[in-house]
Symmetry: C2
Subunit: 205 residues, 2 copies
Amino acid sequence: MQVSSLQRYPPNTLLISEGERPDFLHVLIEGCVELFASHNGRHTTIDIVKASTFIFAAVILDQPYLKSARTLLESRILLLPAKDVRAIFYEDPDFAFAAIAEISKCYRDLVKLLKDQKLRSTSERLANWLLRNYSKHGDDLVVALEFEKKTLSSLLGTTPENLSRALGQLAAAGVVTSGRTIRITDKEALVAFASPSRLIDGTIG
Amino acid sequence: MQVSSLQRYPPNTLLISEGERPDFLHVLIEGCVELFASHNGRHTTIDIVKASTFIFAAVILDQPYLKSARTLLESRILLLPAKDVRAIFYEDPDFAFAAIAEISKCYRDLVKLLKDQKLRSTSERLANWLLRNYSKHGDDLVVALEFEKKTLSSLLGTTPENLSRALGQLAAAGVVTSGRTIRITDKEALVAFASPSRLIDGTIG
DNA sequence: GACGTCGATTGATATTTATAAAACGATGAA
DNA sequence: TTCATCGTTTTATAAATATCAATCGACGTC
């Protein structure tokens, strides 16, 4: 693809607005992007992605975006002209198969988000999110937030105030919060509280 | 596809259980199917479909179903062996393109469901659902429920009790309920209350 | 026609979640 | 350093939603 371009964006850059027609397929090479939507003065974060395509379906169908997108961190993004993506999709079976695998994965991730939202309380969503996002620092299990708590609260489908309170609740399960660093001191207890499920929290595969 | 088969199922037949491996792609020819999920004793309806494939993504990726499925009405369903679907997908570019269009559409419908869930209150979801599902009977706009209100309440992400109360609220906007027949007597008022959006309620296209 | 069943509704109450306002705390500028 | 800003937390209160129990009403059976 000759006319594709690799762009670098600072944090908090609006990349896409819902309702627009897709001109490019965005491939996030490095960084972090929030997908969100607004309606009637309300706002919600749909997903936060770190390395993947986003809003592939709108490009394939040549339909208006249903979500907006903004960078949360400085990000490098490959822009592929939507027209070319659709053309190559027709010509190259390998690309077609890769595309459908990617969209199918996105679909399944979205089913999981909807199940998470409809089947769990706020603090359960938070507990499971922590279990999906911690990393090991020596013996410690730590979640180092790369974005504002406000954004996390919107992703979890609640408010910053309630996120604070939920973190307070989880202290009873050994979750210690200080600023953007959240420490899981008793994974067993947190798992017992969260009861994660492969069919909601599992990564594909 | 020689080994495909067209089956007829009575209402309330479990077709698929979440967690199972997909053996077949299901194509709903006629009838009505509920897609739902359970977790920790809770239950939620993800979607209700009338004529389409369902759970295509699991078949393509050969991954466990994330949703269960049951018939709500007597239904005719075409069963295509999952293996064959994947094989044909590789061989036939037209099929591949149809498949990706189908999954992309499903993806977008799911984004709309998630936005509906996160950006609206229960009575707003109900109002918009009515506006998406009524049909004209002479001068009247009528929603004739084909399934239990319990199922609708689960689809809307609430309880039967709260669905009752929400229908009560909407009486102020001219919504008249009697049994499974819901009449919209003042569409303007209902639209004003619901504020539907193309980016949440729109059918594709 | 009387009875039993089951879904739907209603009323009372509890829980969860949101909102509004104030206080806190880190950060950056003057 | 001092001040202002902004995200976060806390407190208080309100609204939305869920739960529990009881009742209603349609339907089918005996």
